[in-house]
């Protein structure tokens, strides 16, 4: 544990040194990453944020704009005169373009596990001068997650995590999959991931055959899926999760980000597992 923390801290420090050359505290931050937006506001750096991208829909008070993290427009970003831009990935060489304009850039890619997610929150705290608030947030998250996990009976139940109604799922290697591991659940997507992408498309036959005891829907907002729609799918009424009402509908954005609201996700899963 200590060693992996040390590793993350080193990587984070290297990234910070590389991406953020000057050490002054930024006051005009642009976040093109919905996760970073949530974290910035959660650690009290919200007042320093001047613009967030079109996908940053939480918290509501974040200054949402039409800026895009997928197809970033450097001129439009520069027009806000930012002193720090947080991005999720270097789309269209935006990092180099912003460097040319002497704008600091911080790249915070999709976290692979909770440790990395905590590292990103701490990194944001260090850069925005909210170090203590960030550390406190991480401690709160850790405690809440540990409490939720401890509240459930540990049984190796089979879980199916649904990303889209055509049965794309996430394996135990993904961020969300590692959370199911905390509960000791068995992820039915693991058997299907021969290419190691982490996000295989399962066949409907296989899902019914695997008979998962827990179904988590992360396609409620994008694709209108609900407990009722899953129960109504042809052939699905026999699935254990449907019979025992262990289908959880979760806001896609909560289930797809690795920010402070991951706690809500863990608690939602824990609630259903306790009821079983």
């Amino acid at each position: 544990m200590f060693r992996s923390l040390l590793l993350v801290a080193t990587v984070a420090a290297l990234l910070a040194v590389q991406s953020v050359s000057a050490a002054t505290t930024p006051h005009r931050i642009i976040s093109l990453s919905p996760t970073a937006t949530e974290s910035l506001f959660a650690i009290g750096a919200g007042k320093q944020v001047v613009a967030v991208d079109d996908q940053s829909d939480y918290p509501k008070r974040a200054p949402r704009t039409t800026l895009s993290g997928f197809t970033p427009n450097v001129e439009a970003i520069a027009a806000y005169r930012p002193d720090l831009v947080v991005v999720q990935y270097d789309s269209g060489d935006v990092v180099e373009a912003l460097h040319k304009l002497n704008i600091r850039v911080l790249v915070q890619p999709s976290a692979k596990n909770l440790t990395a997610a905590y590292g990103q929150i701490r990194q944001l705290g260090n850069i925005t001068a909210h170090k203590r608030a960030a550390a406190a947030l991480v401690t709160r998250m850790k405690k809440a997650i540990a409490r939720a996990v401890a509240s459930t009976p540990h049984r190796r139940l089979a879980v199916y995590h649904e990303l889209s109604p055509d049965y794309y799922s996430a394996t135990s290697k993904t961020f969300i999959g590692r959370i199911y591991k905390l509960f000791g659940l068995r992820n039915i997507a693991d058997a299907a991931d021969s290419t190691g992408s982490g996000y295989p498309q399962l066949s409907a036959e296989y899902i019914l055959g695997a008979n998962p005891s827990l179904i988590v829907l992360a396609d409620t907002r994008c694709c209108g899926q609900s407990v009722a729609s899953v129960s109504g799918r042809p052939g699905w009424s026999n699935v254990a999760a449907v019979r025992t009402r262990s289908v959880v509908a979760i806001d896609d954005s909560v289930a797809s980000r690795w920010g402070p609201r991951v706690v809500q996700f863990v608690q939602a899963v824990a609630r259903v597992l306790r009821k079983r």
């Binding site: 895009s68 109604p165 794309y168 299907a192 066949s203 296989y206 695997a210 008979n211 209108g224 042809p234």
Partner: protein, 333 residues
């Protein structure tokens, strides 16, 4: 004789499709269960396995056959009516129109989503609008311009609709994955509902196309020659295009875009038995149905229990095959 061989091919495909899948139900058990189901006896399958066979596997196999037969017949008809060997069912903008229709629903009516009725309906409407627009545009160029004007109009309309689709997607980035996974062929979520949607269109279009197969042979000699033989060229072309397009739109609406079926199936048959539409059209329907069912067996078993998009399978086999066709036709010429 040739039809009998094709029928055996289709029967083999259907049988394989029902017997093989990610979940091993056992061949004998499936046969037993089928008899039990038909005769109203107690099924030897458990509840879950019974659902897998009757709610998932069987509708998927039947849908694959309907879509495959429709795309192959539509492709054969388009190639005849436009006298263009490269014509496929999406030539007049059906694919682009369906893509735009699906994108509009995904972007402006989120929540109705991938599984609702709105998306196939909107894709169907989009395909229809695109083809009508292409037809009107092509006809306005005058009859003298012939089938080439229609093809150019189709290309124009398709580019325009694709541009609109990309624009809408840029404004709603979160829909990109959804739309593409929908468009890339989605037999994976097929059920009896989809079978019911496409079946009437497919059967009606097959009957209309089969009724015109002799006229398609006449059309092959050229517009003027066909007219001299007393054929109303414009009317035949319109009827065949409408029948092929409506069925294609229905196929796209329930199964997404499935590449190459409309090209490789008719061309294979031409290579093997010659180009007369009297045999080509019925064979295209039967062989196309069998081909897509086999392709779908590969799609759902090769990476089992993961799925491979059906469009990837048909194009993977279709592209090299098409290269061979091009080579042999060059030698013949």
């Amino acid at each position: 004789m040739r039809l009998a061989a094709a029928a055996v091919f289709l029967a083999a495909a259907l049988l394989t499709g029902v017997l093989v899948g990610p979940v091993d139900l056992g061949a004998l058990t499936v046969v037993h269960a089928t008899f039990a189901h038909v005769l109203g006896l107690h099924s030897p399958l458990s509840g879950a396995d019974d659902a897998i066979l009757w709610q998932l596997r069987l509708p998927r196999v039947i849908l694959g056959a309907l879509v495959g037969g429709t795309l192959a017949a539509a492709g054969a008809a388009y190639q005849g009516v436009f006298r263009n060997p490269l014509a496929d069912p999406y030539l007049l903008g059906a694919a682009a129109g369906a893509g735009l229709g699906a994108t509009l629903v995904a972007a402006y009516a989120p929540g109705s989503g991938l599984s609702g009725d709105l998306l196939p309906l909107s894709a169907f409407a989009g395909a229809g609008v695109a083809v009508v627009a292409a037809y009107v545009l092509g006809r306005s160029a005058g009859a003298a311009a012939g089938p080439a004007a229609l093809i150019l109009a189709g290309v124009t309309v398709a580019s325009f609709f694709t541009a609109l689709q990309i624009f809408v997607q840029q404004q709603h980035v979160d829909t990109v994955q959804q739309v593409y996974s929908w468009l890339l062929g989605r037999l994976s979520t097929a059920g009896w509902r989809e079978v019911a949607i496409i079946a009437p269109y497919a059967v009606a279009s097959w009957l209309i196309l089969l009724g015109h197969r002799r006229l398609l042979d006449v059309l092959a000699v050229g517009d003027d020659e066909a007219a001299a033989l007393g054929v109303n060229v414009a009317r035949v072309r319109l009827l065949v295009v409408v029948a092929a397009t409506i069925a294609t739109a229905a196929a796209v609406a329930v199964a997404g875009l499935i590449a190459f079926v409309g090209i490789i199936v008719p061309h294979t048959i031409r290579l093997l038995i010659g180009g007369s539409y009297r045999l080509l059209l019925p064979l295209s329907i039967v062989v196309g149905a069998g081909f897509l069912v086999f392709a779908d067996v590969i799609a759902r078993t090769v990476m089992s229990p993961a799925e491979l998009p059906i469009g990837v399978v048909t194009a993977f086999f279709g592209a090299p095959f098409f290269a061979v066709i091009l080579r042999t036709s060059r030698r013949a010429a």
